[in-house]
Amino acid sequence: GQADTLHYPKSFGFGRTATLKEIALLDTDVRPDGKGLPAGSGKVSEGKLVYAAKCSGCHGATGVEGPNDQLVTIKNPTDPKVKARNKTIGNYWPYGTTVFDYIKRAMPFNQPGSLTDQEVYNLTAFLLHENGLIKADDIINAKTLPKVVMPARDFFVPDDRRDGPEIR
């Protein structure tokens, strides 16, 4: 714990100050309050084109078919298999900012880190719209993205397990 380190010198003097530039190169994360979102904005219609070109091969023509993760919620599915894996942006993701953050860092899976901010904004707009969370002509940018209402937000509760015998 912290106490173990209190006899340490104020500084060991190992390491160097990070420059703003090198931090900026790595610091692509986006918080729920929108901190970290870059300049620019995205449109559903343009995202549709990028999606078809770079994403549909793995996530399906409409974001449902796969073979990889389903991205778009099916309303009232009847197929029990679809029902089981129907946890997507539309009904399970609590924050819209996560869509931008994750696509930018990790997608497309075979070329991670290859998208421009513009493409990521467009894709975010497209996927939010396909999930019924924004309108077809809504614009997604640093101001609007944190405000998108995500239906799943209310379901999330912090860990309620405790020490001791209770099973939760």
Partner: protein, 387 residues
């Protein structure tokens, strides 16, 4: 067709050949292999992890004691194991700090160090089976144990001057998934380790070479591998891994988030499927662990859960560590079920599957740590059974 004498001759030859082979094979009669630069594994021993596209499981049923050989440590990654040049490696710490800093691998190794033997388990580590044909590796092979060495994160927190207002930090990996998880700042001050060594040597690539975050007792995914960046913040980042994944439905429409602690657990590794046992004395063996602290007790039942006896724990019992247990049993040859359950130092008792299901509104998901039973047929065949 062969003549009688030809046949005899052949038989004789075969016999002398056999004799030759036997002579060659008598290891007391041939000088052996000279000392070398690296030890080897016997060609007769071929323990292997069981890989899928996204993970690979430790062969728990093949192991003895508690240390996992590093090349058998389970793997879980989100876009493969990156190739990282240690000379180019840097860890950036920034955000709510007095002085954002960059540390090379050499820098990290110069700070005061700490070592501890501890388990690491993926929170998605339970698989059942209807026909009973699953090994410990398949049931819960996403747990392993190493001696981890590194610098305490608290030491680096002091070096960069973490703001007292910071409440969370982001840990980011340098892999192709650029893995990110938010960690409460208290864990960083308490016992988080920035690890660069595993079982005496450099961390293996599959475990995060050259540097990983190690959060004793917490679910595998948050122990970010190939760590390249830590950002101090006053709120969690709500990354994909802590929202879409590594959260679990617990009934009533609720989804549990930031469920870090690994609940107490155990598994009997011997006897287990696909082994067959014989009537008579059997040492029931297994491992027990808890992310909450020490294992204080392991109970074993050999009558399908009707009665429970104390298993022997192998000393020293370590905090948040796989602990070997043993129970000597004389099997009478009648079909039965054997089970084990762990009690940890907080009084938590490893639950049955049905109790877990009930507590979580019928949902399966992460953090499933049920007691598992082995059904022993009267022919000695051991089969998995859910509880």
């Amino acid at each position: 067709a062969q003549t009688a004498s030809g046949k005899n001759f052949q038989a004789a030859l075969t016999k002398s050949e056999l004799h030759l082979i036997e002579e060659i094979e008598d290891p007391t009669k041939v000088p052996g292999v000279r000392p070398g630069t690296l030890g080897t594994r016997s060609p007769f021993e071929k323990p292997v992890k069981a890989p899928s596209d996204i993970s690979s499981r430790t062969p728990l049923q093949d192991l003895f004691g508690t240390i996992t050989p590093s090349d058998l440590h389970f793997e879980r990654n989100h876009n493969g194991v990156p190739a990282i040049d240690p000379a180019k490696y840097e860890l950036v710490i920034h955000g709510m700090v007095n002085r954002p800093m960059v540390f090379t691998l050499a820098d990290l190794k110069r700070f005061p160090s700490v070592s501890r033997i501890a388990f690491l388990e993926c929170s998605g580590n339970y698989r059942g089976s209807v026909d009973g044909k699953v090994t410990p590796q398949q049931i819960c092979g996403l747990t392993s144990q190493s001696e981890w060495t590194g610098v305490k994160l608290s030491t680096l927190f002091r070096e960069v001057g973490v703001s007292p207002k910071s409440t969370w930090f982001l840990a980011e990996g340098g892999d192709a998934a650029v893995m990110t998880r938010s960690v409460p700042i208290e864990k960083g001050w308490e016992d988080a380790i920035i690890c660069y060594a595993q079982n005496g040597e450099a961390i293996r690539p599959e475990q995060g070479y050259p540097v990983r975050l190690f959060l004793p007792g917490w679910e595998g995914n948050i122990n970010v591998k190939w760590l390249r960046r830590i950002e101090l913040s006053d709120q969690p980042f709500q990354t994909r891994q802590e929202t879409s994944k590594y959260t679990e439905a617990i009934g009533g429409g609720k989804i549990r988030q930031f469920s870090f602690t690994i609940d107490a657990r155990s598994i009997i590794t011997y006897p287990s499927y696909p082994q067959k046992v014989e009537k008579g004395w059997i040492e029931i063996r297994g491992i027990a662990w808890s992310g909450r602290g020490k294992v204080v007790r392991v109970e074993v039942s050999t009558d399908a859960g009707k009665t429970w006896k104390l298993a022997e724990l192998q000393d020293p019992v370590m905090d948040k560590a796989h602990t070997a247990f043993r129970y000597l049993w004389n099997w009478n040859g009648q079909p039965t079920e054997i089970l084990s359950r762990t009690v940890d130092e907080t009084g938590y008792v490893q639950p049955f599957l049905k109790d877990l299901l009930a507590a979580r509104g019928g949902n399966m998901g992460y953090h499933y740590n049920p007691v598992t039973a082995w059904y022993i047929q009267n022919d000695g065949q051991v089969l998995f059974k859910a509880t």
